[in-house]
């Protein structure tokens, strides 16, 4: 769905700073979520993802800068009534049944989704009469998702939604999220799974040290970070490895080296020719961690310079 810049943003963080304890969690973060967008917020642990979500959902106030939800204060009941939230580590009342808990949250909203439809979308058929305390971790996540969609929200915030879910449950949740997007809802998703971000998001925002370091369509981001990771033990020095064909990054973890490359065949041919003692060799698609680390590494010096200046 295309975003119209003239419409009021669903969520807006403008020049936001927030200190949490000793760390500067957000350092002038700018993020605008437009109607109909599904934005995946990626970044290493401690980058500021949770703080951004906490500000947008009104749980924290910024130290400076502006936070807006549908153009209003995220703490207003009316504004919150248009949002559904799935928190990363929220619990459920052990003694209430799934049906009772979902129905309770439906009641908070003025135009709730029908109970049966909510339960079906979250894949909770057959579990309605179970007490929440008797559910598995993945089932509890599905109840959390049901609570998030119970009010037919215009804005759906999903913080690590599929943690603890098996593959079938993840795919079922993805198709429910797609249905919400098709209905016109905007989504903010944080995740550690690149496949999840790719499956759902039409825009990816990478943050680190409380600032946005990359922002674009999945294709645009992939062309920056997508790479193949070659892992091996080698006696070549870092400088030699960096000079191999198509290598974009070199890092060491104990005795093993990780080479990021845009052409596995080209790099491997040279690597094997230069070091016949090579051992413990694997070739794989770069993980999200590789990709984000790469983006964070390359953008960090520039960011630090701006901070000083």
């Amino acid at each position: 769905m295309s975003a119209n810049p003239s419409q009021t943003p669903v969520g807006l963080l403008s020049q936001v700073t927030k200190r949490r304890g000793a760390t500067q969690a957000l350092n002038g973060l700018d993020l605008i979520i437009r109607p109909g967008q599904c934005v995946a917020l990626l970044g290493p642990n401690g980058a500021g993802k949770s703080t951004s979500v906490a500000l947008l959902t009104g749980r924290l106030r910024p130290d400076s800068g502006q936070v807006r939800l549908f153009g209003g204060d995220p703490r207003d009941v009316a504004t919150r009534g248009r949002m559904g939230v799935m928190l990363q580590e929220a619990g459920l009342p052990r003694t209430l049944t799934v049906r009772e808990q979902v129905d309770l949250f439906r009641g908070y909203y003025r135009q709730p989704r029908p109970l049966d439809e909510t339960l079906r979308m979250a894949g909770l058929e057959g579990l309605e009469r179970r007490r929440c305390g008797a559910l598995s971790g993945g089932q509890q996540r599905r109840v959390q998702f049901a609570l998030a969609i119970a009010g037919r929200p215009d804005f759906l915030v999903l913080d690590e939604p599929t943690t603890g879910m098996d593959i079938d449950a993840r795919r079922a949740l993805w198709s429910a999220v797609r249905a919400e997007i098709a209905r016109g809802a905007s989504v903010l998703l944080t995740t550690h799974h690149l496949d999840e971000a790719e499956a759902l998001a039409d825009r990816i925002v990478v943050i680190d040290h409380g600032q946005v370091i990359a922002d674009g369509t999945p294709e645009a981001i992939k062309s920056q970070v997508s790479a193949i990771a070659i892992r091996c033990r080698t006696r070549l020095a870092d400088a030699d490895l960096a000079s191999l064909a198509s290598v974009t990054g070199v890092s060491r973890d104990g005795g093993r080296v990780t080479l990021l490359t845009t052409s596995a065949a080209g790099t491997l041919r040279e690597l094997l020719a230069r070091d016949e003692t090579i051992d413990d060799l694997t070739v794989a698609g770069a993980s999200l961690e590789d990709a984000v680390t790469r983006l964070v590494e390359t953008s960090a010096p520039a960011q630090h310079q701006t901070k000083v200046a």
Partner: protein, 248 residues
Amino acid sequence: MFTPHTLATYGREARAQILSTARTPQFVIPSVALPLLFYGVMGLGLSKGREEVAHFMLANYVIFAAIAPAMFGFGAAVAAEREAKLIELKQIAPLPAGGYLVGRLIAALALIAFASVLLGILALFGGVTMPTWRWAATLGLGLASAIPFALIGLNIGLRLGSQGAVAVANLIFLSFCLFGGLWIPLDIMPSWMSKVAEFTPSYHLGQLSQMLSGMQPMANVPHHLSVLGVISVAALGGAWAAWRRQAA
């Protein structure tokens, strides 16, 4: 402010809390079973049909029955739900301001009303006699006494972890019963205990309950009410500060 939607939400929240409380034996047993059992054994059994003993103890036990639902409903349960981030989720959801606490209060009052009515029935069949208005006033005071106990419990629930909250709520629950003279009359206890009693809400509520049920002449009412007022306002301030701090 109080639109039908808001009121309905309070109602649903209260119903959910009542269901959840009723299904938790750790709350129901000290809240309902203990006062009834103690009253049956000590108030009726040991009094051997002497009306004034059964009557005196009923006035105390109505207050006793209010402490556990308030202390555990607001102390231990709030701490557990805060730790599970359940309160956080409700603060994000469009639940009207205070809806969570109103729901908890209604659930505690329902439990207290249930226990008090059962106590009253037990006392009636045990031979306690008093005019109807005294019955109503005595049981009504039991309900009202939920407020100071709930506010004290809320301080525990908002400030301590769930393990600590259960321990502290139990400790305060037992000391309020003991030092407030609800189980054993203070006249037969060492004199230092009556000095401690002055600082407990249970003592002052117990005294008022004795007066309302006609076991004591009305005396020092403004004193008892003002001590209860000071304790409640202090607890309200403490709870307000803790509630604000967790939403920083």
